[in-house]
């Protein structure tokens, strides 16, 4: 990964409110050049507002946002030259073909050879084959990929992605992740928002968690994981005696028994290794597992834990 210690985006005490509603309350963070930064939060946390301010669409009430040394309010014109925005909904023209969409943006960005660049980018996002079909016939994943290609025209050094995988099927999500990774590997700074813990975990070098307009936690995904509540696994059995046997076999996982439904709940670190270990032991002891449910900590759990700690302290 091409990464320097140089800061490319710096946000200081950023505030924004709509009428009486405070959307952003003095948020601070910085993003390093060539890295992937994720702003994680649920709906209404203020993610889109932040991205709109950074991409010069909204003016903050107070505080400052600086990209590559340029203030986004005072030097909006110059900022627009070095950024690119991919909004929450694929902003593509359904009545045009994929190629026409990309070419149009190329012309507006005044790139020297819009047609050639358009084809190169369509190849990059695996849309060359469908390039001459109207976008109306594209799937959700294809639209997002086209949207990304449009944002990449002119090779902007900073790219903003507002919830790039919301609403995508798992396969499309994976291919989008791949492209985002490649983008960062080639030196582009990627700023993305997401509601998925998993996505931030997989992609981001640095994560800030936004809740009700405030940054409640920040760090690498390793840092943040320490804050997570532990995961749980629920195992169901056919007979009561099996429940008892499993209980003694898996004592170290802190089991608790639910006699009536023939189930036990175990605490895990969420790793596959630990899970296989549990199942192997049961298998070797000849105890058949009837049902397995994994209870992953959700983003809500993280919020609740962090906010709970904040209020408790």
């Amino acid at each position: 990964m091409v990464q320097t210690k140089e800061t490319i985006i710096a946000i200081r005490d950023l505030q924004k409110s709509y009428k009486d509603h405070q959307v952003l309350n003095k948020i601070n963070f910085s993003v390093k050049k060539g890295s992937i930064f994720a702003l994680l939060g649920s709906n209404g946390a203020g993610k889109t507002t932040t991205i709109k301010i950074l991409s010069t669409l909204l003016k903050p009430d107070k505080g400052s946002a600086v990209i590559n040394g340029l203030d986004v309010t005072k030097k909006a014109e110059q900022v627009r030259e070095i950024i690119s925005l991919t909004g929450q909904y694929a902003a593509v023209d359904e009545g045009l073909t994929g190629r026409e969409n990309v070419r149009m943006i190329g012309k507006l960005r005044h790139v020297t050879n819009p047609n050639k660049e358009a084809d190169a980018l369509l190849g990059k996002v695996n849309l060359l084959e469908a390039a001459d079909n109207r976008v109306a016939t594209y799937s959700g994943g294809m639209r997002r990929r086209l949207d990304l290609a449009m944002s990449l025209l002119g090779n902007p050094p900073v790219i903003f992605l507002d919830e790039p995988t919301t609403g995508l099927d798992p396969q499309s999500r994976l291919s989008m992740w791949q492209m985002i990774k490649e983008l960062a590997d080639s030196g582009t700074t990627v700023f993305l928002t997401t509601q998925y813990l998993e996505e931030a975990d997989y992609l981001a070098d640095q994560i800030s968690i936004l809740n009700q307009g405030e940054i409640v936690a920040e760090g690498t995904s390793q840092d943040l994981k320490k804050l997570l509540p532990q995961g749980h696994i629920e195992l169901g059995f056919h007979h009561e005696e099996e429940v008892g046997a499993a209980f003694s076999l898996l004592k170290e996982f802190n089991p608790s028994i639910n006699q009536e439904s023939h189930k036990i709940v175990l605490t895990t670190d969420g790793s596959i290794k630990q899970m296989t270990d549990m199942l192997n032991r049961l298998d070797q002891a000849g105890i058949p597992v009837a049902e397995l449910t994994q209870k992953q900590p959700t983003l809500e759990d993280v919020f609740l834990t962090i906010i709970g700690e904040k209020e408790g302290a």
Binding site: K52, S55, T56, L57, L58, K59, E77, R80, E81, I83, S84, L85, T86, G87, Q88, Y89, A90, A91, V92, D93, G95, L96, E100, M104, I105, K107, L108, R109, H110, R134, M150, S151, F160
Partner: protein, 258 residues
Amino acid sequence: MEKVSSMKSQFNDTKVMIGRSMRLSFRSLDTMITTIAMPIMIMFVFVYVFGGAIETGYENYVNYLVPAIILMTIATGGTYTSVRLSEDIHKGIMDRLRSMPVAKSSLLSGYVWTSVVFNTLSTLLVIIFAFLMGFSPNANVGEWLLTLVFLFLFTLAISWISVLSALLAKSVEGAASYGYLVLLLLFISSAFVPTDSMPKWVRLFAENQPMTSILEAIRNLLIGEPVGDNIWISFLWLFGLLVVTYIASVQVFKHKTS
């Protein structure tokens, strides 16, 4: 030097925006039907079905009707401008464009000039069909030119009204609804029948709203009759509407950006 290049890029950006909307319009079957086929069909119905029963004082009803059909064509064309702009706002395309180094003035004016180009084409088609249905204007070159000036001003005014309504509306459906108001104004005017036959209170409204004076001005110009005061009244209406909606649109757009 910098001014020249910024003007050049403004021109380029506007050109790209116009090219895009023209493509979208020509590819959308319902746009073509609503904005071009509908007015021609309505003209057909009025000329061959209702026309015989309408007493206008004109020997040939189509001569009376053509200005109304042209304004109707431009008004429906305008609603499409609203719909496109509104869709672009709600689907995030406007956000994308605004976050790019695109000349600000091109963003709104792109929609307006597209509307002008598109309406010019649809108006031309309507006029051709009018001739096929027996339209026989009697205007000299000067009167034709004045008619074109009025139609151009009317198109510009309608286009800026469309832009303003798209900027103010909360949904795509809402953005197009003002179009019905314009159509209503057309129906309560001298567009299809002379105002003499209307009850007094309706007539009072019909004769003092902008549509009637614009219609009368164009009608008299095309038929080669003296236009009278209507030429100034309609010019003032159009110019006033244009200035007000232009300023309001730019202000609303600016306000939305902060």
